[in-house]
């Protein structure tokens, strides 16, 4: 990098920008709503639920696709929002924070569902199933009929190989369609950091895909 900024790192710069954006967000109407909810105002929390419930349902449905379970997971998401709201520190926007909780709950659900199905189908205990899962090649032996379902299952498997933050960034970018600028604003990170994190997350997915034993034809290319 030939610029002065690259040659002379300014460690305080990013901190000041992050702090400023945190203060800005706290001063917005939504920031005020969150502060009221943090103080125990139940009507404020209700407003948060009603504002974001449809979005949360949409995210869950995109990942899980089991209509019967969508509401159960959504309830769990908002219960977690309620119990953790006091620790929300305004570094990101509220929806980004809720989004992260939602994606994590979805992946927890998928992991538990997989273990439960294997326990039901085999005579193994949960611990034994987990041991088998960790040693067997992680591919589906039976090719699903619908190729988009196959791609979906495949990418969900890959997404378990990245961190929570990387998973959230990738989904916000690729599924929700946010730009890098919008992601920077929502997460409180600067744009270059977002780009680098996204790129490294993609690299991890590519490496995970190479390690998986891909059956030809399972993921149409």
């Amino acid at each position: 990098m030939g610029t002065l900024t690259g040659a002379l790192p300014l460690p305080a710069f990013g901190t000041k920008v992050a702090a400023k954006s945190r203060v800005d967000y706290q001063n917005t109407p939504e920031g005020a709503l969150v502060q009221r909810a943090q103080a125990g105002d139940e009507s404020a929390f209700r407003e948060i639920v009603e504002r974001y419930q449809s979005k949360v349902f949409s995210i869950i449905h995109g990942i899980v696709r089991q209509r019967n379970d969508v509401e159960d997971i959504a309830q769990q998401v908002f219960a977690k929002v309620y119990s953790s709201l006091k620790s929300f520190d305004f570094r990101s926007s509220l929806i980004t924070w809720i989004y992260k909780i939602t994606v994590n709950e979805c992946f927890d659900y998928l992991r538990k569902r997989k273990v439960r199905r294997l326990v039901y189908e085999s005579d193994l205990s949960e611990d034994e199933v987990r041991r088998v899962e960790n040693t067997e090649p992680a591919t589906d032996r039976q090719a699903p009929v619908d190729s988009s379902l196959a791609q979906r299952d495949y990418v969900l498997k890959l997404l378990t190989r990245v961190s929570e933050e990387e998973r959230m960034l990738l989904i916000l970018k690729e599924v929700e369609g946010f730009s890098v600028e919008e992601l920077a604003e929502k997460t409180g990170m600067n744009e270059n950091t977002v780009k680098v994190k996204l790129f490294r997350a993609r690299q991890k997915l590519v490496k995970a895909a190479q390690r998986l034993d891909r059956t030809p034809g399972l993921v149409p290319g």
Partner: protein, 153 residues
């Protein structure tokens, strides 16, 4: 030298300016590593797109009430388990304190007993007393005095 990560990310997003785009495309033509990596990333982006959903279920009426029911149940479970943890912690502290007290008391008694003169044993007390002669007071009375002296010590 490979392309910068931020540039490749912008390339994948389709947001590179024409000059930068031309530079990256030239690099990708020449660099197998970067080209294969970018191709792999494009394939995964297509898979990620399958997570998009056009129609999703809407929350049924009463969703908020059900959320608060769940919050109530989880709070009650948490309070009960934290109470148990508190009591268990308290019991552990009491047990530890009792153990330490007994240890100190026991050490004190042992040290104190070892330091005392051997004259307090029954044999020593009796030896300090004059042996009753046959012609003196009855032996039981002398025995009582001896025992009293021992008890006093």
């Amino acid at each position: 030298m490979h392309a910068a990560e931020s540039d490749l990310e912008e390339y994948l997003s389709g947001s590179l300016k024409p000059a930068a785009l031309a530079k990256i495309e030239a690099h990708l033509k020449a660099c197998d590593t970067c080209r294969q990596e970018v191709e792999g990333m494009r394939e995964i982006s297509l898979c990620l797109a399958t997570l998009r959903t056009e129609e999703s279920p809407e929350p049924a009426p009463g969703f908020y009430a059900r959320v608060m029911d769940r919050v109530g149940r989880q709070t009650a479970a948490l309070t009960f388990s934290s109470l148990f943890n508190w009591q268990f912690a308290f019991a552990r502290r009491v047990a530890f304190a009792a153990l330490v007290t007994f240890a100190i008391l026991g050490s004190y008694l042992i040290i104190h007993e070892n330091a005392s003169p051997s004259g307090f044993s029954p044999e020593a007390v009796m030896a300090q007393q004059e042996l009753p002669a046959f012609e003196s007071g009855p032996a039981p009375d002398n025995m009582l005095v001896t025992l009293t002296v021992y008890e006093q010590h």
